[in-house]
Every structure is written in structure tokens, then in C-alpha cells.
Symmetry: C3
Amino acid sequence: MWTMIEIDTRKPVDVIDITARVQEALQEGKTESGICLVYTLHTTAGLAVNEADSALIKDISNLLDRVAPQGAGYHHDRSDGNAHAHLRATLLGNSVVIPVEQNKLILGTWQRILFFEFDGPRQRRIFVKAVPGV
Amino acid sequence: MWTMIEIDTRKPVDVIDITARVQEALQEGKTESGICLVYTLHTTAGLAVNEADSALIKDISNLLDRVAPQGAGYHHDRSDGNAHAHLRATLLGNSVVIPVEQNKLILGTWQRILFFEFDGPRQRRIFVKAVPGV
Amino acid sequence: MWTMIEIDTRKPVDVIDITARVQEALQEGKTESGICLVYTLHTTAGLAVNEADSALIKDISNLLDRVAPQGAGYHHDRSDGNAHAHLRATLLGNSVVIPVEQNKLILGTWQRILFFEFDGPRQRRIFVKAVPGV
């Protein structure tokens, strides 16, 4: 049992709160208690668990922009113009793992699952897979 | 079966070795062999697996301080003064996953589970959940 | 059921595509469907899922070199000369989790499992553990 979430990003850098989509995917499954892997199938997008505040999301994007600016003479840019997007995705990671109890994601008060597009706009796929605990 | 670890951090930035607490939580469970998710429920704290050397921990804290300094004109700081803590938590990640065999965490010689407080002092909660393998 | 992958790195900084080795480890097991934890037992090496393009790998290494340069007056360097390697490993993370269906790793078109050596050359061990879903 797994679910593929598809999202269309709208900008070169775009951050989308997918918490409700992941919770929905979980409800279709039968994992009462366990953990849930949320995994993007792309190398220029990332995932994180943090607050879905638009001001904070700007700050996170700005930080990644500062650490891995676009077009900074990257080797990979000779074949493809998106090295900065790969670098940001690598720093962030391509998956998050969330505990599940009673078929619900265990999230703290401010925690949301955030999808980070770094080379958009594109159609993106996120694989959701739950495994049961004891 | 899951366990909540509660810790009181003592400083704005504080790093605590929680390996023994996670191992203890595991012993209460029944996962002979599998993997263990260690997951903080907060957005201004992080987790990592690395060496619990106090000199190294200072180096890691200094690095994050340099990459995401406090009060650097962040948008999120207009509503809340802790954007730097969110940024550092996002870079580090809010969970680690550890293999388990014979009810024991599989850790290399120097590996310890480190909890990073970035907006303390606070009371913090860490969710521990094991899932069985075959 | 778990597998230990052993690799010999050849340089101080070395990046090795271990996707085929992980897939091989998986085939020995019996996890038709689930998730697979790939976990390095070291504190000066990391893992990431991204593209195995040699130009990009140079860009990632350069980025980490810039963010955590060798010998930048670290406290840990007084006892051991490899603080930069611990810092890079901490930023990258020491594990990745990959979905598995029909005994095969679920990877996007460009995704590969990359092992990052930051303090080589050394013999390194990577623990692979699959857990079943439903």
C-alpha cells in the first residue's frame, strides 16, 4: 500500500504545505500505528518538517539562496542550468519520516510537512509509504 | 508502542546526548530487530547522529551560528524573534532513524544521538517509535 | 535480516554511488514492499539521494568545503584534525530512507544513493535494513 501525491509547482522556488495531502494518503491505508515515509522522487526538490509561516518560508528560501546561489560558476551548469537546485535539495534532504498513531500523523503544534521546489515550475511526485509498528 | 522522552534544556543553544534515553525507551518495547525513529515535536530544535565531544559540539553550534545568525533581519522575526532557530532546525532536520538488532541501537564507535536546542531554555518532547523488520 | 556494505574510499573527500550495492543487499532479503534504511556507522561520512553526475558531485563537495572548510580553527581540531569532516557529515546526515516495492528501490529517474567520504581514505561500513509495509 502506497500513495503517489502529484503537485504542480508555480514558480522557480516554491514551497507547498502538503500535510493535508499526506494525512489523506494515510487514511486510505491501514497503518493504525507506525511510521510514514514522505519521499520526493526528484533531485531538485526537497522536504522538511517545520512551520508553514509565509515569512519564515521566505527566510528559509533566502538562506538557501545565500548558501547555494544560482549560477555561481557550477560545473553542473555547463550541461544543465540547475546546479543550485540540486545543491539546495541535497542540503535539505529528499524525505521526511513521521510517526503515525490511530491513523494520524504525529505532529507538534507548529509542525507541517513542507515541499520545497527549487527548479520549477514543474509537475512533481511525492511517494508516501507507511509501515506498521507493534 | 511508542515512548515520549521529555527533556529540559538549560540555555538558548544547548546540545544534549539522548542516546541512553532512546536505548531505555527501546528496552520497554518489543522490537527485537527493526528500525527506530527518533523525532522531535518542535520546529526550533533538531536531531543528529554524530560524536558527543564537547569541542565538536561547540564547532557544530558555531557553524550553524555562522550560517544562520540570530537577528539577521529575518521576516519571521517581526512576529517572533526566533527565525534563526527555525533555520538551524531546518538545516539539521527534526528526526533521525537508527537500526535496531536484539533490542539495541546499532551505533558506530563514535555515534551518539544528539538533541539540538536552538530556542531554549524550554521543555522539549521527543517521540520514539520502533517498527519491526523481518 | 540486515546487510553490511563495506567500501574502501580512495581520497580525503570521495563520493561513491552505492545504489547497485544497496539494491543487491535488498535482493538477498524478503521485503517485497516497505522501506529501506541505508545508514553509515561513521561520524565523518554522510549519505544523500541525488544525481550521480561527476560535475554535480564536485559542486556539492565544493559547497561543503566552502561552508565547513578544513582547519578553520575548530575546537575539535586540537584533539583530532577532522572537525570539518564531522561538520559536513552533520549537515548531510548519516542515513537515507528509500521506499521498496517488489523488492526494488523506488528511485526517480535521476536519483542515486551517494556515499560521501569526508575523512578518507578509509574502510567504511554501511548498514542496510529493510522493514515491511502492508
